[in-house]
């Protein structure tokens, strides 16, 4: 769910934005040594497949929750959404609030019991239990291929950022950072990935938090910042209201309306990402018991609610305080002689503005940590899905546990090399980056329909699940291609001739989800129902979910979920 536009490659800067001093470099080097040290330390604890792929299923709710959110909080996420806040204003906050919190709470309260009780190792593993091998194979192969491609593309985009911001060599950035990730994930598996993600989460916050604190101080608080934005930007009031401008496509900078935000983003796209993307769900599955597995995404939601403070607010502060104007990436590329800055550079610009020696190193380390946490998430999820959902059922089902651990380690190395290859591919064929990002989005929304129907509707059959997922995915691809080759068609998909590209993703997700659900329902009703015995532990009504009444109220996940949801409502009203 990154908004980062991966078109920086041609933007080779004459000079870098940031120049690091000896203390800054020491901080970055210590970080690299530390994450490798963690991998070496944890290798002794990863002996079995359960240790390597599922971190022994011994993570506390806090560790699983912080890892869950950190795997998503990549550097491109930080840079991209800070840039989106500069470009679209506070509307970008919807990708953190309505576009994440309800889905995370839904995962914790409604879906996690089924994932956890059936003891599956992965989301495709759940599909195998519920819908059979065909649906699992479709989801696993799509996920494995897309994960590696996305990992490589993110790696390339990050290397570009390092070149633009720090002046670092592109090849050095790609190889050093990806081999470091490969080393610590290969040594300690998911356990190492999770431990490093918790560390990275702390560094991201501590490295980025000074910017909004000092920015707000300089701007004269929230009101001072709003006043400056209204002075600096035409129609500035629309940049500081989250909902009041969403009545129509033409009244906000994003060109979207509330239907797209609420139903496309909130009800489908974010639900699909946060509840079925194995990259994030894997972290929660590693929790030590069901209550911890339910609490982990709820803890993640609590922190996610405040991430806009270090991502969206710096973008808004950039609008208020930066002396120069930032431009779209393609405009910057078209005018290299003018040495302009793009939206995506707002966060580094704000870092440079406030952070002196030492603090700058910490801020850059936060960006690197963000990149590594995202890549480690991709690599560890790929290793698990490949080994458990592709290699074991389709290629070699009779090997012992040690063989699968070795396969996981090899797979981690191969995944890193494949990611590097994808990064170089993207370097030569930049258009592939947009296509792969779109490809990934094709599977998210239909997969959510398939999984959620499987969990909540006993009548859904194996054929229904398979054909629903396939139909939803193909319809998403078809809608994407239609708009790609004939842009005016967007007005039919987004229901308005004033809709902008951002609305395309939201409405396409909504339609392909509905198509997938409709096909699943129709095919299921036309095929014989699955016997109740086969649905035990998989579906609502056939699963004994342990009661939480024995816990005091304050220890029950539902209590915290309600509290966080209430906080979400209050925040949205405050920034209406």
């Amino acid at each position: 769910m990154s908004s980062f536009t991966c078109t920086l490659a041609a933007a080779a800067p004459a000079t870098s934005l940031i120049s690091l001093g000896p203390v800054d470099i020491a901080i970055v080097v210590i970080y690299f040594l530390f994450v490798i040290g963690i991998g070496l330390y944890l290798k002794r604890f990863t002996k079995t497949g359960n240790d390597f792929f599922m971190a022994g299923r011994e993570m506390t709710a806090w560790i699983a929750g912080l890892s869950f959110i950190s795997a998503n909080l990549g550097a491109l996420e930080l840079l991209g959404w800070a840039g989106a806040a500069y470009q679209y204003g506070i509307l970008a906050v919807h990708w953190y609030w309505i576009g994440a919190i309800p889905a995370m709470l839904f995962l914790g309260i409604v879906m996690m019991p089924f994932y956890y009780v059936c003891k599956t190792n992965s989301v495709p593993g759940y599909l195998q239990l519920r819908y059979g091998g065909g649906t699992r194979a479709l989801a696993a192969i799509c996920f494995a291929v897309m994960t590696i491609l996305m990992s490589g593309i993110n790696m390339f985009a990050m290397a570009i950022v390092m070149r633009v911001v720090l002046g670092w060599n592109l090849h050095l950035s790609i190889w050093v950072s990806s081999l470091t990730v490969g080393l610590y994930v290969g040594l300690g598996g998911l356990l190492s990935a999770i431990f490093n993600e918790v560390l990275q989460f702390m560094l991201i916050w501590l490295g980025a938090l000074l910017v909004p604190i000092l920015g707000l101080y300089q701007a004269g608080g929230w009101n001072g910042m709003v006043h400056k934005i209204e002075r600096n930007v035409a129609n500035g009031a629309s940049y500081v209201h989250a909902w009041s401008t969403l009545g129509h496509f033409s009244t906000n900078p994003m060109g979207i309306n509330w239907v797209g935000i609420v139903f496309g983003l909130g009800a489908v796209l974010s639900m699909g990402y946060w509840t079925t993307d194995f990259l994030v769900v894997q972290r929660v599955m590693a929790a030590k018991d069901l209550r911890s597995a339910k609490m982990a995404p709820i803890i993640g939601a609590a922190f996610k609610m405040f991430v806009p403070f270090i991502v969206i607010l710096p973008g808004l502060l950039g609008l208020a305080l930066l002396p120069m104007k930032l431009y779209p990436q393609n405009y910057v590329q078209a005018h290299p002689a003018q040495h302009l800055f793009s939206y995506n550079e707002v966060l580094p610009l704000m870092l440079v503005r406030y952070c002196g020696p030492g603090l700058l190193g910490l801020g850059v380390t936060a960006l690197i940590a963000g990149f590594m946490s995202g890549m480690a998430g991709n690599i560890s999820a790929f290793a698990t899905v490949w080994t458990y959902d592709i290699y074991r059922p389709m290629i070699n089902s009779r090997a012992g546990d040690a063989h699968y651990v070795a396969m996981g380690r090899w797979c981690t190395a191969l995944g890193v090399l494949a990611s590097i290859a994808t990064a170089y591919l993207a370097m030569h064929f930049q258009s592939i980056m947009d296509y792969v990002q779109a490809l990934f989005s094709f599977f998210i929304a239909p997969l959510f329909g398939t999984v959620v129907l499987g969990m909540l509707w006993k009548r859904a059959t194996k054929a229904g699940g398979f054909w629903g997922l396939l139909a939803g995915t193909l319809s998403s691809i078809a809608m994407y291609l239609l708009v790609k080759f004939d842009p005016p068609l967007l007005r039919y998909i987004a229901l308005s001739d004033r809709a902008k590209p951002m609305a395309d993703d939201m409405f396409r997700a909504l339609w392909c989800f509905l198509i997938g659900v409709a096909v699943t329902v129709i095919v299921s009703l036309a095929t014989p129902p699955v016997a109740a015995g086969e649905l035990r532990g998989l579906v609502l009504g056939c699963t004994d979910i342990p009661s939480e009444k024995r816990y005091p109220l304050i220890h029950r996940p539902i209590f915290w979920a309600v509290l966080i949801f209430a906080g979400l409502v209050v925040l949205n009203i405050l920034f209406w």
Binding site: I27, D51, E58, L206, G356, P357
Partner: protein, 68 residues
């Protein structure tokens, strides 16, 4: 692993402690030897108090979650 569940917080403590020392030291040096091109709000000496915060957090994590 169960006996080492706290080790992640301990390790984080070590890193924050080291970073706190480095950043605070850089901030104190900058106080006495002002840079030629100071950052915005340089007068607040953010490096010193942010470094002190990291130092204190690191120390807390090291003591609270020390590996026995």
């Amino acid at each position: 692993m169960k006996n080492n569940a706290n080790s992640i917080w301990f390790l984080i403590g070590i890193l924050l402690f080291i970073y706190g020392v480095l950043i605070a030291a850089a901030g104190i040096y900058g106080w006495f030897v002002p840079p030629a091109h100071p950052v915005e709000l340089w007068r607040l000496h953010a490096g010193i108090w942010w470094g002190a915060l990291l130092f204190a957090m690191g120390l807390f994590y090291i003591i609270r979650f020390r590996i026995k």
